[in-house]
């Protein structure tokens, strides 16, 4: 069977800088693939071409074996791809429900936004994801990092994402909240979602991911199953930009 996502020889340049250079990566349903690398290695850029934030210069993307055309965030969404961004893409001045449904508001028959119905749906999903979440009427600026993150995650879960992209989902969170996100990732994985996870925390990645891909200077250094490598192998790939297994072979 074709993989859920396949990105083939994808490249993008900004000005003279080749941010991503002919990278290929795959993702299966029910799998978590971690992307590792230094800042500026091209992880976020690679993934933003899948989420539609950037348009790739060359290469191909296949979703469930079909060639996909992704030119905008909207296109990506049509393929059931949801993204949780590093910088929590929330409008701080709006409440949780408005953020959850931003761009896909529920409307009444007359075409007006139906705040009450959106609030009801938000209460439902929040009761599942984060039972402590009570501040439904306040702007999300008033929420803690974890609560804000759960709004972002709720957005992905609510709209039945098949493919989830999480760009450093725990970067701004405390220990307890990080655990909550980890549990959630496991649950979503069990439900059959494919998840791309970007993080700097190698240990966390070893625990959560099935496979890890390491990038450096826009190039894909290697992609390994976590049980086949040690943390040191991964670190040396990140730092040296060489795959020790490939060298040994």
């Amino acid at each position: 069977m074709a993989p859920l996502v396949e990105m083939k020889n994808v490249s993008i340049a900004f000005g003279g800088v080749q941010a991503v250079d002919k990278c290929s990566i795959t993702l299966e349903a029910g799998e978590v693939v971690g992307l590792l690398g230094h800042n500026g290695a091209g992880k976020s850029t690679l993934i933003k071409m899948l989420s539609g934030a950037y348009k790739m210069d060359s290469g191909e993307i296949f979703i469930e074996g079909e060639k996909a055309v992704i030119n905008s965030p909207r296109d990506s969404r049509d393929y059931n791809i949801e993204t949780i961004y590093q910088t929590l893409a929330l409008a701080d001045n709006l409440d949780a429900a408005s953020n959850l449904f931003l761009g896909r508001e529920l409307t009444t028959r007359l075409g007006f936004v139906d705040d009450d119905r959106m609030e009801a749906e938000t209460r439902k999903i929040m009761a599942r994801l984060n039972p402590n979440f009570k501040k439904l009427k306040e702007p999300v600026a008033a929420l803690s990092g974890g609560q804000r993150q759960s709004v972002a995650i709720a957005r992905a879960v609510y709209f039945n994402a098949k493919i989830l992209i999480m760009d450093e989902p725990t970067a701004a969170l405390g220990v307890h909240e990080t655990e909550m996100v980890a549990d959630l990732i496991k649950e979503l994985k069990a439900q059959g979602l494919g998840i791309f996870l970007i993080s700097h925390d190698t240990r966390e990645m070893m625990e959560l991911c099935d496979r890890v891909a390491v990038m450096k200077n826009g190039k894909m250094i290697g992609m390994e199953r976590v049980e086949d490598v040690t943390e040191d192998d991964i670190l040396s790939m990140i730092i040296l930009g060489k795959n020790p297994k490939a060298v040994a072979a």
Binding site: S51, A53, S72, P73, R74, R77, T83, Y85, T87, L88, A89, L90, A91, D92, N93, L94, S98, L102, G103, R104, E105, T107, G111, F112, V113, D115, D116, R117, E119, A120, P139, A141, A142
Partner: protein
């Protein structure tokens, strides 16, 4: 008080600290503050004018000239034009832009309408002056001009990425002088009599119709409060105690009917009635009285306010405007076309400038080259005094309208007590800065962003 919370599912006595009567109303503190500021200003001028006429006595209260039906009527028609534009400025500022060209655009659209009704239609299309279609065609032409200019400016800002400050600063010079060019600098008038009805004193509803409108508005307000509560109950959301809802409903209805009563208390002077007593429904001039009632320009403002509030709170367009103001990148990433959104808000601003131009030119019964001069500053000040944050994302339509009312009250009040023109502007400028400072302190204190 709290025994009335039985209908609120989450308001169990244990989870909820005891709330005072005042808190249970869940009123908007900022709104109360602005209304309070208005009343302080109004009472101040009223007592001052009363004092200067009657000395330190009871007459201070009765002889004042500010809180009189006549002055409040004038205040409302003077505020209308700036308030109409201020509602549009809320959207612009919420989206982190600015529009410095509104006064100039008012001039251009006013010139378009004046020339259409006095020159283009009569001379080029042979519609005789006074033809019933003339005012309406002129208004359509003015609205079109507003949309076109607004969209053009919006396109330059949204798609060509020229800062709004620059585009509209250019527009400030361009549109004032396009208006000049169209009229050769001449004053155009008198405007069509039907058109003039939108201006103020010559276009009012009279006592009966004013009460009818007031009654309908009251019913609508109560119905909206009731249906909002019913939906929240149907979703099992917490609701206010029923007593609080009734209190709010009573306050709203009292405010609407009180406003109508004040306007109806402004009677048409006898010598005006004597001239055309038949117009006021009397057979003879003897014992004939009539009231001005609700001005049409104020109805226009109220309709604009309702439409703009619905857009802001109940449509996707409004939701995206506020989302973009809060976080432009996030909004773009959710697939919203923020460039087109920019064009739309400037197009709306253009339409509102044209509507304001109808009211402003109709009120002075002719078009002049300096119509709307300095309005851009009044409009921005009204929006900002009304709580619109220049950092974007925050602002309300009603706030901008009250902001415009406060500005106009200060200006008329000072003119009334005989403050010299330069001092008036000094005070208005200082109040603008003070209002923003108070707003910053308020936000700091409440922790709101």
């Amino acid at each position: 008080m709290s025994d009335q919370t039985a209908q609120a599912p989450e308001a169990s006595p244990a989870s909820q600290p005891k709330r005072s009567m005042f808190q249970s109303l869940e009123l908007d503190i900022r709104l109360l503050g602005m209304i309070g500021a208005f009343f302080v200003i109004a009472a101040g001028f009223h007592l001052y004018t009363g004092f200067s006429r009657a000395g330190f006595s009871l007459g201070m209260f009765t002889e004042g000239t500010f809180l009189t039906p006549r002055n409040l009527f004038n205040l409302s028609i003077q505020t209308a034009s700036v308030a109409i534009m201020a509602t549009g400025m809320v959207f612009i500022i919420v989206m982190r832009h600015i529009d410095l060209s509104v006064g100039a655009l008012l001039c251009t659209t006013s010139a378009v309408m004046a020339m259409t009704q006095t020159s283009v239609l009569p001379d080029m299309f042979n519609l005789p002056l006074g033809h019933p279609m003339i005012p309406w065609i002129a208004i359509v032409a003015g609205l079109l001009a507003g949309v076109i200019v607004g969209s053009l400016q919006g396109w330059l800002i949204g798609y060509q990425l020229i800062p709004a400050f620059i585009v509209t600063l250019g527009g400030f010079l361009i549109w004032r002088n396009v208006g000049w060019f169209m009229t050769d600098g001449a004053t155009i008038g008198p405007l069509d009599p039907t058109f003039q009805l939108f201006g103020g004193i010559s276009g009012t509803l009279g006592e009966g119709w004013s009460w009818i409108i007031g009654g309908l508005a009251s019913i609508a307000a109560v119905f909206l409060l009731f249906s909002a509560r019913r939906t929240r109950v149907s979703h099992d959301f917490p609701v206010k105690p029923i007593g609080a809802e009734v209190a709010i409903g009573a306050i709203v209805v009292a405010a609407i009917l009180g406003f109508i009563a004040v306007l109806n208390a402004y009677e048409v002077p006898e010598r005006v009635i004597e001239r055309d007593f038949a117009d006021y429904g009397c057979a003879t001039a003897e014992n004939c009285t009539a009231s001005y009632g609700l001005p049409i320009s104020v109805i226009v403002l109220l309709v604009v306010a309702i439409v703009m509030t619905v857009i802001a709170q109940r449509t996707r367009l409004g939701r995206y405007i506020f989302a973009t103001g809060g976080n432009p990148d996030a909004t773009k990433l959710t697939g919203v076309n923020t460039r087109l959104l920019t064009v739309k808000i400037f197009a709306i601003m253009g339409v509102l400038c044209a509507i304001a131009a109808i009211v402003a030119s109709a009120r002075q019964t002719y078009h002049t080259n300096d119509i709307g001069t300095l309005d851009e500053l009044r409009v921005i000040a009204a929006a900002v005094i009304g709580g619109t944050a220049l950092a974007g994302g925050i602002g309300t339509i009603y706030g901008a309208i009250i902001g415009a009312l406060i500005m106009q009250s200060l200006q008329s009040g000072m003119a009334m007590v005989g403050v010299d023109a330069p001092y008036q502007n000094i005070v208005v400028g200082a109040v603008l800065v003070l209002a923003v400072w108070v707003d910053i302190q308020y936000r700091k204190h409440t922790g709101a962003k």
